[in-house]
């Protein structure tokens, strides 16, 4: 297997808590961040509730018991300050790290049209382009900063989409989250830049628990991108993030992820355990939320970006490509909960499984009694490469009124040696052959991604598949 390109470790002095979790650790995290008491109260409530919960085991993934007392719950580079005003205040090692990851933070090298929040282990290093955004009234900052400076907004919305009682990992996250991104798009504003967060895990045995909250007020629009990588390590690392999106009347949020956490080596050693709760609430009339994800990393992926379609005529969408290779396991899908009238949702899921990997789609479409005229269209396709890979589809449909329409299509195909030989015998090298197959299969999802992201995603999937075929 070709090397995982982002597998390097940054040698930097970090302040890291001893492993283990109890109320004192929760208090210490809150204290480190200088949080107001309401935030600490929320963390403690979540922690106490979490202690009564059991880790879910219903997903089609296998992994050894996680010992939550072995994990470091806080780690930050010693140099990192709470908020930086300019790049001069950021440790050059960190700037170098993000440059190596293709995320230049300096003014000259920055990607045009994108504002970046760079998160390293437990803390946000810096957020670029803040001034431009402020002019339009857009708030884009680290969650820590938002709790300090925009406490009223955070207090009003945090936990309204994913409450701490929702599930085991969401409960844990609410108790110990360390940072993440906060976005607020005011009424009638079309966000002038794409907003992007880049998550980097560096420290060994450290859990990463970020919390992202995006609020789009009436008639606003935002395009949000998320990327993630981690060093290659023999041990597994836990990543349990929560993302909440809220769209008010006629607002639109497009959320795209390219997830490339370290997946472990070819024998299944190491890799990130990715247990993530992402949910959007279409609170307002005619609001829209779409999730587009390319899941190409992690040893275990447990992730179901979902939409609560509460406002009448609101629209939810989920476009997903999930690739598993070697010993990776992915159990991913979505929930579309139709609450308001004439709500619509679309689900397009493409799973590619190669080597000894397992790839499952798990979805729920629920049409509530008052959601008259609700419609859903789901399409779930699986592609198997080689003869040892597996794919599952677990769709659930629950229609509680007679005026709802649900359509579901599913297919499975296997890439055979025969197909590859056929393409190669027409002069296509392995790269072009795989690229043709993958592009054909994933076209509908790739075309939803912002352009640069789409190019990256195509390359990423091709590279990973080539390794497992060739």
């Amino acid at each position: 297997m070709k090397e995982y390109k982002y597998g390097f470790v940054t040698d930097i002095e970090s302040e890291t808590f001893s492993p283990g979790l109890n109320e004192q650790v929760v208090e210490q995290i809150s204290e480190k961040k200088g949080e107001p008491s309401w935030m600490l109260d929320l963390r403690l409530k979540a922690y106490r509730h979490w202690k009564t919960m059991k880790e879910p085991r219903w997903a089609a993934v296998n992994y050894p018991q996680i010992n939550y007392q072995d994990i470091h719950y806080f780690s930050k580079p010693v140099q990192a300050k709470k908020t930086v005003q300019s790049l001069d205040e950021v440790d050059p090692e960190l700037i170098k790290t993000f440059e190596r990851l293709g995320i230049p933070l300096s003014e000259q090298k920055r990607l045009s049209g994108v504002a970046v929040d760079a998160v390293f282990d437990s803390v946000s290093i810096m957020t670029t382009q803040k001034k431009t955004l402020e002019k339009h009234g857009v708030i884009f900052c680290s969650m820590s900063e938002a709790i300090q400076n925009h406490g009223d907004l955070v207090k009003k919305y945090m936990g309204t989409v994913v409450p701490y009682r929702d599930n085991f990992f969401a409960g844990l996250n609410q108790a110990v989250f360390t940072d993440g991104s906060f976005c607020f798009i005011p009424k009638n504003v079309r966000c002038p830049l794409d907003l992007s967060t880049y998550f980097r895990i560096n420290q060994e045995n450290t859990g990463q628990f970020e919390r992202t909250l995006i609020i789009a007020e009436e008639n606003s629009y935002v395009n949000y991108l998320e990327g993630c990588t981690a060093p290659m390590r023999d041990s597994n690392q836990l990543h349990a993030a929560v993302v909440e999106l809220i769209a008010l009347d006629s607002a639109e949020i497009k959320y795209s992820t390219v997830q490339n956490w370290y997946p472990g080596d070819s024998k299944g050693q190491g890799g990130i355990y990715n247990f993530v709760t992402k949910r959007g609430k279409c609170l307002g009339k005619k609001s829209k939320i779409s999730w587009t994800q390319v899941e190409a990393g992690s040893a275990i992926t447990w992730k179901y970006p979902s939409c609560l379609l509460q406002g009448d005529e609101s629209v939810g969408a989920f476009y997903s490509v999930a690739l598993t290779h070697d010993h990776m396991q992915a159990d991913t899908g979505t929930k579309m909960i139709h609450i308001g009238k004439n709500t619509k949702s679309t689900i397009i899921s493409k799973g590619i499984s190669s080597g000894k990997a397992c790839n499952s789609y798990r979805g729920l479409v629920r049409i509530m009694p008052k959601a008259k005229g609700a419609r859903n269209y789901s399409q779930c396709d699986s592609m198997l490469v080689g003869d040892q890979s597996r794919a599952n589809t677990f769709p659930s449909i629950d229609v509680q009124n007679e005026q709802g329409t649900v359509e579901h299509e599913a297919s499975t195909c296997r890439v055979s040696e025969e197909q590859l030989l056929y393409l190669r015998s027409r002069g296509l090298d392995m790269e072009s052959a795989v690229s043709l197959l993958v592009n054909g299969f994933c076209k509908e999802v790739f075309k939803r991604l912002p352009l640069e992201f789409s190019v990256e995603a195509v390359k990423l999937i091709e590279m990973k598949l080539e390794n497992s075929i060739g």
Binding site: E417, Y422, S425, R426, L437
Partner: protein, 250 residues
Amino acid sequence: MIQIENLFVKAGERSILKDLNLQINPGEVHSIMGPNGSGKSTLFKAVIGHPELSVSGKILYRNSADQQYENLLNKSPVDRALEGIFMAFQHPVEVPGVNNFNFLHTSFNAVCKHHGSAEMDEKEFLKFAESKLDLLGLDKKFLYHPLNEGLSGGEKKKNELFQMAVLSPTLSLLDELDSGLDIDSIKMLAESLKKMKNKQNAIVLITHYHRLLAEVKPDYVHVLVDGHIKETGDYSLALQVDQTGYDKWM
């Protein structure tokens, strides 16, 4: 163009071709005849480099008269294709989601690139591909169809012919390209092969039916039985086979 010397081919433990020798020159049309399981398709697969065969002996090939002969055995199926070897598959595989046009365009440009000639953009290639469809009298629907997916047996064969016309290979190995075709289509196939044939290329046909041979009139006919070429002759040998079968060689 191609010299096959002392070729032994095994599929797993089973010996299929045993000491086979064959020479093909530019401008020639050959036909290989033989009973089922005699090794005809295996011979083609060995020439294109099928990964599941173990092959020993020599397959010497050159794409044009000004080149040196090279042994193909060390070359990948991709390199052999780029050097002008084309096989029309007996059972073309379905490749869902891959559009015929994109596939052929990629393939065509790969060949151009290999020979250092100019690649075509989408627009130019569309024109070129349509001209080939016209030449063969084929429907334009072939262009944007997913590669072989859901096509009938006969349509798949026509799609192989279309690919051959687009790639204009030096050596074309046609494995039962006529089976599954109706009478009119076999005529069309024969006409098309005559149009594509020239002094620089060569065509080898595997067929069980006399009809195609009667139209194309091969220069050489080989009878392949039990992994050996038992007899080589001209077109009259094909007539003989058609009347008396293979008993004589078995």
